[in-house]
Symmetry: D2
Subunit: 189 residues, 4 copies
């Protein structure tokens, strides 16, 4: 079978918070992406990782979001009229992101990469945002589940911007964080 | 959002083997489905469970496979010309199955439910087989990952018969177990 | 074999901190003692639990420490000249305590229950303080290890006040928290 | 604090059984000792490991038991009239052993090293046998608990031969496996 290529961009957020024994608090200090990937078993899939930043998503600036966009464009490659024919080419981008402002980033990526895309520069792969309500380092975290779903979805979804978590794939525009229930919901259907 | 309905039929296999302390061996004795589901977090999804049998898949008889088919038909509901319009209706069937003969069952379900389907009795939901190379009760098992992927896929895939595991969704006919690598591969493309 | 009786008094501390998904922080809100005990396998041992308070040990007041002392005295029972002859009687007291001020509480219990004990009121069981550098709810926590060692030590140690953690049983007076190494050390030998 | 030295001799048994994905069964093939030790946090303790054999204890021969005895003697060092004064010297020996014949090995070590010890060749450290009812590789195994207790006990127990498991330290002669309850019990008191 052809090898699937997925790129995982980590930006921080609850999913990657680790415990600092001296301070006694949870912080975004280093990525736990490699540790999460070791717990999953993927066949015919190569997952590239790009550790872009380590931030609580409430602290993300416009400049940070621009860096995320630049990273997505870098990974997706130069726009082209041709459909992707190389089976080894990029099949999807996953962004690990804090849940508090994940949907703002998702809406902005949708506006920039889809609504306002230049002619003949259509997005050819799915771009999937995901995060977690409990840090990966905690027992009973939803982190590994959501990352697993995002990687699986990268091989199935049509080009577009999505949030994937808790069993659902929700396309932008529309998704919002539901703070009461601790999940994402679709608001436009 | 509408509530997604998924039905999980368990038949046994490595994924559900548990350790018998007296015998010192792994056996199919009781289903671990409920314990697995407690470790996943699903929103807007109702997962019905049907504990059909507890067998090593090498011991499955023709009568056992008929019971599996009967269960799928029961869950999918009476065939109809109308597309499913009730958002609460069944969105997918998952079958937990031993990996050794999973593909035989998949091929047979494909022949019966798709190739030889009576006119106007088309399958309207995906039927997903999954299993594991290591029992759920073992550390570093692929059981929870594969179940998670199967549940996620049940909301995304088109009607058809599939094996979902290790990041891939492979449609029947075609998939085979690759014993060397310990996974499933597609043989017809 | 006679049944061993151990009493576990929980006061809070890092060991019992749980994650609040709304606030995104770790807090002392409810005891995780029962969940920890379910993960251990004890024969011929009955573990009574007393949920005294849920506090970061930096917030413990003199009144809180008095309540801890009262609880220990209640559990140990009325002082007596007779050695314990009832095999079902209390064989040890364990106090789950935040590590930051655990040694202050230990020194004070030592002064009160041993140094200044009234004649004929000698302590007849070990009183063991323990805690954790990482909350039980985190992966790779030392919480279950330390609780396991404390329960085991309760059946072996002579009467006295101890901190038990990371493989060591250190008698008071003397133990201090070593913040650099994240453990307890004996300072008087 | 002085550094404690413990030596861990592994012989196989249920505690070290791992899952063979091709055969679909549990086997004694390689030691899991290093992986277990990584999950525990010990201060001022050096744990040496000696992988002696990988056998189900029902398959142990007299020659195997002689090798275990030789290993214990090697670790304990040459007999001497002097008490151990070097704080870096051996403080205890732990033997990982299948539970089915653990007590036979314990009785024999007791006869050889204690009852029939030559004059002035008294055992100066505790020798602790332990094992597990469920392999370490299974969820909810008692393996890590028992190893943790054995290491902790090695720093506390008087010289002698013991089985340590499930919260108890039982000195030989006397302990037997209770197959009904899945634990060890003392039969001579």
């Amino acid at each position: 079978m052809p090898m699937r290529q997925i790129t995982l961009i980590s930006t921080g957020g609850t999913i990657e918070k680790t415990y600092d024994e001296h301070a006694g608090t949870l912080m975004n200090r280093s990525s736990v992406v490699q540790e999460m990937l070791r717990l999953l078993r993927h066949e015919d899939t190569q997952i590239n990782t790009l550790q872009l930043m380590q931030k609580d998503s409430l602290d993300l600036t416009d400049a940070d979001r621009q860096r995320i966009l630049d990273a997505v464009r870098l990974v997706v490659g130069p726009a082209t009229d041709d459909p992707i024919t190389d089976p080894n080419s990029c099949r999807g981008v996953i962004i690990l992101h804090g849940t508090d402002t994940l949907c703002e980033t998702g809406e902005w990526l949708h506006q920039t990469l889809i609504q306002n895309a230049e002619p003949n520069h259509a997005l050819t792969v799915p771009v999937i945002l995901t995060g977690a309500m409990r840090p990966f380092e905690m027992k009973r975290s939803d982190a590994l589940q959501n990352l697993n779903e995002a990687i699986f979805a990268a091989g199935l979804l049509a080009p577009g911007i999505y949030v994937v978590a808790h069993g659902n794939a929700l396309p932008f525009p529309g998704p919002k964080k539901d703070r009461e229930r601790g999940t994402f919901i679709q608001t436009n259907n």
